[in-house]
Assembly symmetry: C2
Homo-oligomer: 104 residues x 2
């Protein structure tokens, strides 16, 4: 992808979904497009730098699409691509597991 070598498909997927914010951003976009500021509000602990850095990475990887409305003040929306949407089944399982695990 970026020249990295993956041991197996699971390894590849983990590299896309791992990291502090990558997965959470994809998951936050499950309901449709969101603006930068909406994401920021939703992922409470993220800061500007990490958010834009991670969104840029996800865009390069073909997981999200960036739409700049060319307005002032700026308005930019992010959406999942088809590949991004296909990650959602993974997160649905993660949510179920996490919910179950945390009450055990």
């Amino acid at each position: 992808m970026n020249g990295a070598i993956y041991y197996c498909p699971v390894d590849l997927t983990l590299s896309v979904v791992g990291g502090r914010w990558q997965g959470l951003i994809v998951w936050a976009l499950r309901g449709g497009p969101k603006r930068f500021s909406e994401l920021k509000r939703e992922l409470v602990a993220v800061n500007d730098k990490m958010l834009s850095q991670t969104l840029k990475l996800l865009a390069e990887q073909g997981i999200v699409t960036r739409t700049d409305f060319q307005s002032v003040p700026p308005k930019v929306e992010y959406t999942l691509t088809e590949n991004g949407r296909q990650l959602l089944v993974i997160f649905e399982k993660m949510e179920a597991w996490g919910a179950h695990y945390s009450e055990a």
Copy 2:
């Protein structure tokens, strides 16, 4: 879990499954118990330190069980717990996604 605070169930699951080796080890154990040395052979790029460190973490988290056969030379086996086995559906989806994504 270790005092960390999770934003949501997905965040929790990502913390268990993320990291360089955690997910790959769980996935490698899908077929049943494996010895330390077998895991090491299978996860080619892992070194002793990372393998035992990660296994210890997974054991503390209740994802794997450690069985020491008290022999010399040592023989130790690792198995998925029930919670660990329930992670497998996640990895199955990851494998499918990764395989598809890498050929696009």
